[in-house]
């Protein structure tokens, strides 16, 4: 149990997926204009990554490994992620229209969010079993949500500042991300 909690904390804070491993930068910079959409995207990412790591782990253990198809993992993972996003979208549309409305436009974005594929591949690399994969996926996605919501908060303040002209737009956002990354480096000192 302690180990699983450690995996979540490591994924969410110490090895933050965005600020430390640079996965999912596109949506991190793109959707972080306001806090609410960022939260919605974060919710959708948590949902998809957790399911995707579970499915990827099952497929890897029971299909790819027994048949020695290890080298097919990139192709298989990206296809299941794409299919999964579609299924989740259809499922939400039928069962929970309110949630679908909130997450709707963000779901298709997630297919090419490299964080999803990244987590699936890292889990395989680390030889995680089923439970560990699910927890690692969940922790990573929580870390993603923390980072994007924090950046959205910072950006809503940046907007009112008088920024030197060349730095307006993307550069100042990147600098904010750099400072966040410095702050998150502080977590790397945590030991149990």
């Amino acid at each position: 149990m302690k180990e699983l909690i450690l995996i979540i904390i490591a994924g969410a804070l110490i090895n933050n997926v965005v600020l430390n491993q640079f996965l999912g930068i596109c949506s991190f910079l793109g959707v972080s204009r306001q806090i609410k959409p960022s939260l919605c995207l974060g919710g959708a990412v948590i949902f998809v990554i957790t399911i995707a790591s579970a499915v990827a782990n099952l497929l890897y253990t029971f299909l790819l490994k027994p048949f020695n198809l290890d080298y097919m993992k990139t192709i298989v993972f990206i296809l299941i992620i794409a299919a999964l996003v579609q299924i989740v979208e259809m499922f939400l549309k039928k069962t929970s229209p309110t949630l679908y409305k909130a997450l709707g436009i963000y779901l298709p974005l997630i297919t090419t969010n490299c964080a999803v594929l990244g987590v699936a591949l890292t889990n395989v690399q680390n030889d995680y079993d089923f439970l560990q994969s699910v927890f690692a996926g969940f922790g990573t996605a929580v870390g993603y949500t923390i980072a994007i919501v924090l950046l959205a908060g910072i950006r809503s303040r940046i907007r009112e500042e008088d920024i030197p002209k060349p730095f307006r737009g993307a550069p100042v956002v990147l600098i904010a991300a750099a400072l966040m990354s410095v702050a998150f480096m502080g977590f790397s000192g945590i030991t149990w």
Binding site: L19, N20, Q21, F22, L23, G24, I25, C26, S27, L29, G30, V31, R33, L41, Y71, M72, K73, T74, I75, I78, L79, A82, Y106, P108, L109, I110, T111, T112, N113, C114, L117, G118, L121, T122, Q125, K165, P166, F167, R168, G169, A170, P171, V172, V173, L174, I175, A177, A178, L179, S181, V182, M185
Partner: protein, 234 residues
């Protein structure tokens, strides 16, 4: 660009300077930030992406009349993923040190926005030869940006360039540039310099405008139309 340029050369110019994928279009940021710790990693990553990009553009352009419109994105993803797997195996076999250094970012070339973006914006409506040149131009532009970022980070962060000591030993390196925050900082300054010297970056359009945010997937639908329009104006 006032004079009529040879269309192949025009593609190269477009990819390397005018629509530089990293610095102007702000695509493929994840690998740019992640592997730019050293100049040599930048070159390795850039060239492997270039190889995949050229081949995927070629194959998609050849198949552009065969692939039905409704399933084109899954088809592209399968093509790209196969090419990436081939590249990964080749690198593991022949360049184990680079393979080791780039690690998980090689399989992640599959979800590099540049590749699907070019497939959607260019290769699926142009002839094979021009698509290859487009892939080459975009790939070289990406490689250039990655190598430059890697060089700056390497010199500032560890005092070396391509593994050779360039700063005198007495000058202590600024460690933070070799760490993750350095990546954000260096790219931020690159884009700011591009802004300052007046090369119009599109990132405002890509980042701020509605529907196009989220880069990658979102761009395939609404943004790529814009990108395509942009390249037609060339």
């Amino acid at each position: 660009m006032s004079k009529k340029m040879n269309p192949s050369l025009e593609r190269l110019y477009n990819g390397i300077i005018k629509e530089n994928p990293t610095l102007v279009l702000m695509l493929g940021m994840c690998p740019t930030l992640a592997v730019s710790t050293q100049a040599i990693n930048g070159i390795g990553m850039g060239l492997s992406t270039t190889a995949v990009l050229i081949l995927s553009n070629l194959i998609i352009s050849l198949l552009r009349k065969v692939i039905p419109d409704e399933v084109r994105l899954p088809a592209y993803i399968v093509i790209v993923a196969s090419l990436v797997t081939v590249t990964e195996l080749l690198m593991e076999g022949f360049l184990p040190s680079v393979y080791e250094a780039l690690g998980i970012y090689i399989p992640l070339i599959v979800v590099n926005c540049i590749i699907l973006g070019r497939a959607e914006a260019y290769a699926n409506k142009n002839k094979p030869w021009l698509s290859v040149m487009d892939g080459l131009g975009m790939g070289l532009g990406f490689t250039l940006a990655l190598t430059l970022a890697g060089l700056v980070r390497e010199v500032l962060g560890s005092g070396t360039a391509f593994g050779v000591q360039v700063l005198p030993e007495s000058v202590p390196p600024i460690g933070i540039f070799a760490q993750p925050p350095g990546a954000f900082l260096v790219i931020a300054f690159f884009v700011a310099i591009m802004n300052a010297i007046g090369i119009k970056t599109r990132q405002r359009k890509l980042v701020e405008s509605d529907g196009c945010d989220g880069g990658c997937a979102a761009c395939q639908a609404p943004c790529e139309k814009k990108t395509a329009k942009g390249s037609e104006n060339a």
